[in-house]
């Protein structure tokens, strides 16, 4: 059966649980820093290490961010809710329970509208709740870095207690063959919404946003099938592939009269399929109960209203508006959004650059550079004002494209604003006519044969002499001006 044939026979139901690591300055329940990549166990205290006697205190910024996310996803914000303890043992979880929310989440019953191929699909949001991250275990001495064969295990608690928000959709039926694309588009939309709020850097590849994908299949008119949960899918493309491969796998089993077991599965980046993990035939008993160490959360209604009032423009609305302004295609706009460049380009234009110019630098040279350094575009080392200034130098003829790239390299390296880099590196286009005439005359004198051909009307040969002039001026001449001057000196213009 092909994928299309499967979808004429079975109906998929999908559901997504997305974890977003909040970008708060301090942890969820203590004042420890949350900086990424710090030396192991340098951002810890009695509270996040769960030393005997230590108590949590709720980070208000984390509650605020969760409410903002809930509001942006059209949720109702609970007037009163509580944290709960989810009890289970794990070596990198200091308290051996996770402080989370259970039957009393902070935000409930919202939706996200997702557009695929010009059609809008509404994805229901069941809940948005707040919880904490665990530490990280490192297995040493084995060949693979995995626990098997390791001689010891080390635990880094820097991440323990970093606030997480979990966004759970309602089960989504009726998407048919488009289920994988819509799942992907939903996660992309979610990412854009969270990013627009400025509460997380939502980088899937760094794990600050991760997705669990639930999939089931049923025959038309019958009850929903048994679902599987594919854990920790960490790229947009993988979300799509995970849904598709799980649909294909489950259809294969059902077609042979087999049964789907409720289980956790793991997505394989290399092969694009899922492998079984923990069986869920016997449900884990987390022994949830209300967290007695924390007072209930009762967000002030005026505060919630003010947060709602202050929500930024919805990314989908903003994208449509900017796409129009910039005159680019939906696909180009999507890649701008995917690169996290919407605001940067917007600010660059506001600083005086043309939409095309702004987009060219951010999506070209700077995106390449960010990729090399594995940093966010915003952290690449150039500001929108600098990019606008660079484009202005090009527009004014002081830099050509090649020189501008060298100037940008200096800007990124922290050598200063474009004008300063240009001056310090001596990269300005040579516009001194005397110097240019001399260079042209030198080139003619050094290449009498080519000059003769040009005089005879073979203008195409001029390229070689232009090249020679560019070489002697180290690329700093305006090639167009060189060509004009050359033809003029040879009397063929």
């Amino acid at each position: 059966m092909t994928y299309e044939e499967i979808l004429t026979k079975y109906e998929p139901v999908i559901g997504l649980e997305t974890h977003v690591e909040l970008g708060t300055r301090t942890k969820m329940f203590c004042g420890c820093k949350t900086d990424f990549g710090a030396e192991p166990n340098t951002q810890v205290c009695p509270v996040c290490l769960a030393l005997p006697g230590a108590l949590p205190v709720m980070n208000k910024a984390a509650i605020e961010a969760t409410i903002q996310i809930g509001l942006a996803l059209n949720c109702d914000i609970a007037e009163w809710c509580r944290m709960a303890r989810k009890n289970y043992f794990y070596p990198d979880m200091p308290k051996n329970f996770q402080t989370s929310q259970y039957d009393e989440p902070l935000c409930v019953d919202g939706y996200v509208d997702v557009e695929v191929d010009g059609v809008t699909h509404r994805i229901g949001i069941e809940r948005v709740h707040i919880e904490e991250d665990t530490g990280k275990t490192l297995h040493v001495g084995g060949a693979t870095g995995r626990i098997h064969g390791a001689t010891e295990s080390l635990v880094d608690y820097n991440r323990a207690g970093i606030p997480l928000v979990e966004i759970v959709t309602k089960p989504v039926p009726g998407l048919g063959a488009l289920a994988p694309e819509i799942a992907k588009a939903y996660v992309a939309e979610l990412r854009d919404i969270v990013r627009s709020l400025g509460v997380s850097d939502v980088r899937m590849e760094q794990g600050s946003m991760r997705c669990d994908v639930n999939t089931s299949l049923n025959l038309p008119g019958e009850e929903w099938g048994t679902r599987t949960e594919t854990k920790n899918v960490n790229s947009l493309r993988s979300v799509e592939r995970a849904v598709r491969s799980e649909i294909i796998r489950q259809a294969g089993i059902l077609d042979e009269g087999g049964k789907i077991f409720q289980e956790t599965r793991h997505f394989q980046e290399t092969t694009g399929d899922t492998r079984p993990g923990r069986s869920k035939e016997t449900a884990t008993d987390y022994r949830y109960f209300p967290e007695p160490d924390l007072v209930p959360i009762a967000p002030d209604r005026a505060w919630v209203a003010a947060l709602k009032e202050a929500l930024p423009e919805k990314p989908s609305v903003k994208r449509a508006r900017l796409r129009e302004d910039w005159g680019i295609s939906e696909i180009d706009m999507q890649s701008v959004a995917n690169a996290g460049a919407v605001e940067l380009i917007e600010e660059t234009i506001a600083a005086g650059a043309s939409p095309a110019g702004a987009r060219k630098w951010w999506m070209g040279e700077l995106a390449r550079r960010a990729n090399e350094l594995d940093v966010e575009l915003a952290a690449v080392g150039a500001t929108p004002a600098q990019v606008a200034a660079l484009q202005k130098l090009v527009d004014d003829g002081k830099l050509n494209d090649k020189l501008a790239r060298q100037v940008l390299e200096g800007v990124v390296a922290g050598e200063g604003d474009p004008a300063e880099v240009m001056a310090a590196r001596g990269l300005e286009v040579v516009s001194d006519t005397g110097a240019l005439t001399k260079a042209v005359d030198d080139a003619i004198a050094a290449n009498p044969d080519i000059a003769a051909k040009i005089r005879d009307g073979k203008v195409a040969a001029a390229g070689a002499l232009v090249g020679a002039v560019m070489k002697t001026t180290r690329g700093q001449a305006d090639a167009k001006a060189v060509r004009e001057l050359l033809l003029e000196r040879l009397g063929v213009s």
Binding site: P46, L49, A50, L51, P52, G53, A54, L55, P56, V57, M58, R85, N87, F89, P91, P94, K95, N96, F97, T151, V155, A283, D285, R287, Y288, F289, P292, D293, L294, V295
Partner: protein, 487 residues
């Protein structure tokens, strides 16, 4: 010279302030007393001679002044003390030195109170006799063959044995008041949230309340006002001024209770209490009436369910709170020989590190919280808790305070109740309702039965801690004090 260990904290403080004696002399006297008698009493698990003397010197140097500056104190071993061993009387924390002070310990230090050492207790504060300490029981100074109460038996015994003028206890179901009653000392459980739990090794988070222990009501009030107050590190801490308990205690000493309505809980009368306890209680009531108080019988019909509700809620929270003792980060680790799995090491550590009573409660709590049983046990117990709170609230619409005996029986001989957990749990029958409600309560010595002390309990509405101190001080002045035989 008078024996400094026999004086009240209030008089020690004034003698130190007036330089009649030095804080170092007072501290030394208590350290010497501990050295002389603690082998027989075993109130202390750890004595910090150097730390206490250093703190006393600071007061003598004039660096710290205040109402209790220079008055030494003993701290229950469930409260963290920076650099000083803190074990909660469990093997699983043997030798652990916390890297931080509990908030209440910080406050004692800021008040210039030298900390003599850490007192014995039932392991993780689970018990009513201090027989469940992993390091051996504490003996009651009134009769060394009897229990000193629990879980704070060490703190109360240290007071009764004149090893310390003041002590810190913690009260989850009566662990300050019940030892106070059976050792003839005073013990108060403040309003829940009135004293910070930060640094208190958690037993049952929604019930645990640190509080003061003394030999007089005024001393207890003085300590109360030093240790209480809002702490931003404890989310459940109440951000409101501490009631003026010292003023209330001094007012009560005058012995005038006219206009005060005392509610006697009908459900606590009679059954289960020893006759000697009941007669002491009723004689005390008569004395309070003579001071002008009015006695009103009130019914709190749900109090009869307090004990079962407590023995579901407290173990449930304990099962979760004690999960962190897994041998990964601190304390004991057993069986880590490179051949065992994480689960096996964790299991062996807990097997070796926890005592029988702790294991019993972890198992009860784990069961009560498990899916399928949650609604029947934990959920039901929380409903009972709400009903008990309503009983208190409606009672306090009619009376100012509720009164009862603190315990149904006087100090019992060692081993007489350990074989039957339910008989042991009954020791806290009268104290537990207050913990479920969250209000303050105090136990004051009110007489002797068969030569052993009987305690009188006064319960007040939440944040009306001052009210109970006033009645307690009046009772104290009416009945006098009770001193144990020489050790």
């Amino acid at each position: 010279m008078t024996d400094l260990t026999r004086l009240s904290a209030a008089s020690l403080a004034s003698k130190i302030a007036s330089k009649e004696v030095s804080a170092v002399e007072v501290t030394t006297a208590h350290l010497d007393r501990i050295a002389a008698v603690d082998e027989r009493v075993h109130a202390f698990l750890h004595v910090d001679r150097e730390g206490a003397l250093a703190a006393a010197r600071k007061v003598d140097n004039g660096e710290i002044t205040g109402p209790l500056a220079g008055v030494p104190i003993a701290v229950k071993d469930v409260v963290t003390t920076k650099g000083v061993p803190t074990t909660a009387a469990s093997k699983i924390l043997e030798g652990w030195k916390p890297p931080y002070d509990a908030t209440i310990v910080e406050r004692l230090k800021q008040a210039g109170m030298p900390i003599l050492g850490k007192t014995n207790m039932d392991e993780f504060a689970m018990g009513s006799s201090t027989e469940y300490s992993a390091y051996g029981a504490t003996n009651n100074p009134w009769d060394l063959g009897r229990i000193p109460g629990g879980s704070g038996g060490g703190s109360s015994a240290a007071l009764a044995a004149f090893e310390a003028p003041l002590a810190i206890g913690t009260d989850t179901g009566g662990s300050i008041r019940q030892p106070g009653a059976v050792t003839g000392t005073v013990g108060a459980k403040p309003t829940y949230g009135g004293t910070s739990r930060y640094g208190l090794i958690a037993f049952s988070s929604s019930l645990d309340t640190p509080g003061p222990c003394g030999r007089t009501v005024e001393d207890t009030a003085l300590l109360h006002s030093v240790m209480a107050g809002y702490d931003p590190r404890d989310s459940t801490s109440i951000n409101a001024p501490v009631p003026d308990v010292v003023k209330a205690a001094r007012l009560g000493k005058n012995g005038d209770l006219s206009g005060v309505k005392l509610g006697v809980v009908k459900e606590f009368a009679g059954d289960g209490s020893e006759p000697g306890v009941l007669s002491s209680f009723h004689e005390s009531l008569e004395k309070l009436v003579k001071l002008g108080a009015e006695i009103v019988e009130v019914s709190c019909p749900n109090f009869q369910y307090a004990l079962p509700a407590y023995y579901l809620i407290a173990p449930s929270e304990a099962s979760s709170n004690l999960a962190r003792f897994d041998g990964v980060r601190y304390g004991l680790r057993e069986g880590d020989d490179g051949n065992r799995s994480l689960e096996e090491v964790m299991s062996l550590t807990r097997e070796a590190g926890f005592g029988a009573e702790v294991k019993r409660r972890i198992i009860i709590g784990t069961y009560a919280l498990s899916s399928g049983y949650y609604d029947a046990y934990y959920g039901q117990a929380q409903k009972v808790r709400t009903l008990i709170t309503r009983d208190f609230q409606s009672a306090f619409e009619r009376v100012d305070v509720l009164v009862s005996p603190t315990t149904p029986f006087v100090a019992f001989p060692f081993g007489s109740r350990t074989s039957d957990p339910y008989q042991m749990y009954l020791a806290d029958l009268f104290t537990i309702p207050t913990n479920l409600y969250g209000g303050p309560a105090i136990s004051v010595p009110c007489g002797l039965s068969e030569g052993l002390p009987v305690g009188f309990q006064i319960m007040a509405p939440t944040m009306a801690d001052d009210r109970m101190y006033r009645v307690a001080a009046a009772l104290e002045s009416a009945v006098g004090s009770f001193t144990p035989p020489e050790l």
